[in-house]
Amino acid sequence: MTPIERKFRELKEKQEKALVGFVSAGDPDMDKSFDLLCAMIESGLDVLELGIPFSDPTADGPVIQRSSMRALKNGVTISKVLDMTQRLKASYDIPIILFTYYNLIFRFPSADFYERSVEAGADGVLVVDLPVEESDELTCYFKNGDFCLIHLIAPTTDENRMKMIAEKGSGFLYLISMTGVTGGKGLETGLTAEKAKMLKKHTRLPVCTGFGISTPEHVREVAAFSDGVVIGSAFEKTIEENADSADLAGIIARQTRSFKQATRKGG
C-alpha cells in the first residue's frame, strides 16, 4: 500500500476527510518555510502539496504568484525542494506531492526528476500544465508504482474527458472547484458537488477538491462530497501577511487546526 492509500484509508476509518495544504517551498525564506511546514503537519495537515516556484505561473492568482516570486528570489530550485522533502519525510509520515509547472521538470530533465523525487521520498507530482494529452512523456519514466502523477478535473471537463482522465489517474484526483485561477472568488459548491458525484462513477481513487476554498465553512461544504479539501492561497495569504512575525509558525498552526476541524464529521 502506498503512503497515499494508507492515509486515505486511515482517514476513512476515523470518518475524516483529508486536509491537503499547498505551500510554495522557500517562502518567506528556507528556514521559516521548513518551520511552518512542520507546524502545519503537527497541527493536522494530512497531505502536503509542496510548490516548486516557476517564473510564469499562468494557472495561479496574485497570491500564489507573489509567493512564487518571493521563493524564486530566495533561490529555490527543484533540488532544494527535494532536500526539504527529504527532511520532512525523516520526521513525519505524511504524503508529499510536489506541485509545479512542466518546464522545470522537462529541463531537469524528467528521468532525473523522477529518480531524485523518489529518493527524496516524494509520493507524486502535480503538473499544472501537463494535461492527459501530453502526460505520457513524463509518466513513461515512472516505474514500480511508487510515484504518481496527480491529474486535475476542471468544471469545464465533460464526462467523456473525465473518464479518460480517471483511467490515467493515480494517487488521488484533484477536482477544481471554480472556473478560474487559484485563489479566486466564485467557489461553485453546488456544481462541484455534481461534478464530484459524476467523477465518483468513473474512479475508485480519492477525490480532493480545491481552488477558491478559503474558510472553514467552505471546507465543511466541500468535505461533504469530497475525500479531501485543498487549501492553497488562504495559507499563502497568511504567510505573506505574517512573514515577519516571530509567531508565523504558531499562526499557521492555528489556521491549520481550524481547517482540519472542519474536515471532521460534525466538525
Partner: protein, 406 residues
Amino acid sequence: MNQTVGQPDSGGHFGEFGGMYAGETLMTALLQLKDEFEHFRRKPEFKSELTRLFQTYAGRPTPLYHARNTSKMLGGAKIYLKREDLTHTGAHKINNTIGQALLAHFSGKRKLIAETGAGQHGVATATAAALFRMECSVFMGVKDIERQAPNVKRMELLGARVVPVDSGTGTLKDAMNEAMRYWTGTVEDTFYVIGSVAGPHPYPLMVREFQKIIGEEAKEQILDAENKPPDLLVACVGGGSNAMGLFYPFLEDPVEMAGAEAAGQGVESGKHAATLGEGAKGVLHGSKSYVLQDDCGQIQEAHSISAGLDYPGVGPEHAFLKDSMRVTYTSVTDDEALQAFQILCENEGIIPALESSHALSLGFEKAKTMPGDAVVIINLSGRGDKDLGTVFNYIQPKGANHRDTD
C-alpha cells in the same frame, strides 16, 4: 520522425515541438476551438467572407514592390518587399485577427481578449472587435504601455479596454500570462485571440492558416514580375507569425529561407531575444519549442529595441524548421536593424517597423553576396510610425541636418 513538412499531427505536434500544454480548465475550450476551426475553415461561407474582408477591409492583396534603389546600392540580388505595412492598421497582424474574429463570430462568441507587446496585435484585435461589434480586452505590460503609447490610444479609440499588466517584467510574456489567467476564468464565453504562431494547439496551426495569404500572394506576384520563383525569403521572427505566413506556401519548393531574430544589444551581452539561436528546448505558454531560460528552467527576460520581438518564446513550427534545417535563423542587433531602417527610409521612402527592420538587415546582407539575377523577397511586416519615438532616441536622421541649416 517522418513527418511531412508543415503538417502537425492531430495533437498539434510538429515533430517533438508544439502540443497542448495547458491547464485542464482550458483543455475543453482548446479542443472545441480545434474542432470549430477545422469545421469552419472548409466552409464556403467562411472562406468567402474571409476573402471579402481581406480584399475590401484589410487592403489585400498587398503589393510586392521591387526596391530598385536599395538593390542597386547594395549591388547584389534583386530585392522585393512584401508590403504588409500597407494593410489596414499597418501590419500583417490584421490577417490573423480578422480570421480569428470571424471564427469567433461563426462559433457564437461575443467577447475577445488578446495580449499585445508592441500594440500592433492589440490594435488589430480591437479593430476586428469593432468590425464585428464584439467586446474586447487587451492585456499589455506596463513597460510596453509606456513605450507604445500611441497604440494604447488607438485601442481605446476603437472601443477596447486596455488592461495594464505589472507582474513579472511588464512585457509581452507577462501580458500573455495574464491573458491566459483571465481566459481561465472566462473560457465559457470568451475567445482568446493569440497574436502569433505560439500558444497551445490549435493556435500555431490556425494563425499560420490566416497568415499564409502573405506567401500565397507573394508566390503569384513574383512569378508575374520575374517569371521564376524567388531564391531567398527573409522575415523577422519574434513569435514568428509573419515569417510562417510568408514561408509556409514555399516550404515544399526549392527556395532558401532565413529568419531574423532580435540580437538586442548582442547575444554575448545577454540582452537579446534570440530564442532559436540561444534558447533551449522547453515549454512556455502552452507549447513545446525553444525558450530563453536559465539552467533551472525559469524563463528569462528578452531584450530588443523592437517591442514586437521582445519575447522569450517562439512558435513551435519554427523550432521544427530550425532542427530540420529547412530554415536558417540568424540574429540581428538593435544597431543593425536601425541601419536597415534608415536605408529603407532614405532609399525607398518607406518607414518600416523596427521588427521588420531586422528582416531588412538580414535580407540586405544576404542580397549583397548574391548575383544580380537572384531574387530575394523580404517580408515588410509592418510600418514604422509607431516606432518614431524609439528611433529618435537612437539615431540622428539625415533630414535633421537640413533643419539646422534652413
